[in-house]
């Protein structure tokens, strides 16, 4: 039986997010002021050493930051990534459950500044800071 995510998390519908669909599954916990996202590190997410490939964490952070901006705009704005700066603090083993939530810490016109740290077992394993350009878009649910 597949591992179950923590209480309150449900599967994120990635039907319209092909790369996240490929590299998921991703779970979401809504109801708080900012949604929380998580995923299990499965065998297909591994690097040659058996830990989470860095690209898995980068992909999750990029999606969560962007998706959180879309949700915060009540699905009226889309965005694309201008820059993403990542610091890898610790490896994540296979089977590990990682979580993250995005934090908007600045806005300059249509450019949003977002932090999106990923944690595993209570510790931050990757720090992410990104800039995202926002634009009107009505069809991103």
């Amino acid at each position: 039986m597949a591992a179950q995510p923590p209480l309150g998390f449900g599967l994120l519908d990635c039907t319209h997010l092909p790369f996240n669909h490929l590299t998921g599954p991703i779970y979401i916990k809504e109801g708080d002021s900012t949604p929380r996202f998580g995923m299990f590190i499965l065998p297909q997410h591994s690097d040659a050493e058996g830990f989470a490939e860095r690209g898995v964490l980068a992909t999750l952070a990029d999606m969560v930051a962007g998706r959180s901006l879309v949700i915060a705009s009540n699905f009226t704005l889309g965005c694309f990534t201008i820059s993403l700066n990542l610091e890898f603090l610790a490896p994540v083993p296979q089977g590990g459950w990682i979580e993250t939530t995005a934090k908007l810490y600045g806005q300059q016109g249509n450019v949003a500044f977002v932090a999106c740290d990923i944690s595993y077992d209570g510790n931050v394993v990757m720090q992410a800071n990104g800039k995202f350009k926002q634009f009107p878009h009505a069809d991103l649910r």
């Binding site: 997010l17 092909p18 790369f19 490929l22 997410h45 690097d47 040659a48 690209g55 980068a58 890898f88």
Partner: protein, 140 residues
């Protein structure tokens, strides 16, 4: 296959499950510095129909690490400490993207590399990263 692999490129398998999931990944045969490439497919795209930033970050990361490891060629491996990526342009389904690596410092315990990802001559990503070398026996 609607998009053939350009002449001089072959698929490459690093034994990395995540790359096997998102691949295929190709390399330019005989390149003096490892030169990876991918064909963008629908599965690599985001909700807007362009390539996902995570795919580009993954390619920049792997291309940098593997170029450093190949250049050192002493059995050591490397993992990423930091990766800073600027997204300058976009790629879409059908595009052939290539990762051009410049090793800024390949010696010592921590190495540094730049990666430029291009579609033809159009620059779409620039990344810089720092990478820690280790011997496999130390990690086990």
């Amino acid at each position: 296959m609607s998009h053939p692999v350009p002449e001089g490129y072959q698929s490459i398998d690093f034994g990395i499950p995540f790359l096997q999931l998102i691949g295929p990944v190709y390399h330019k045969v005989g390149a003096p510095v490892l030169h990876l490439a991918m064909r963008i497919e629908h599965k690599h795209c985001n909700a807007l129909g362009s390539v996902h930033g995570g795919l580009l970050a993954t390619l920049a990361d792997v291309a940098s690490v593997r170029a450093l490891v190949q250049a050192r060629n002493n059995g050591q491996r490397a993992f990423t400490i930091s990766l800073n990526t600027d997204y300058i342009g976009q790629a879409v389904e059908g595009d052939w993207i290539e990762a051009h690596i410049t090793i800024k410092k390949g010696s010592g315990g921590v190495a540094f590399a730049l990666c430029e990802i291009k579609v033809d001559d159009k620059l779409i990503v620039v990344s810089s990263g720092s990478f820690k070398f280790f011997t496999p026996s130390e990690a086990s």
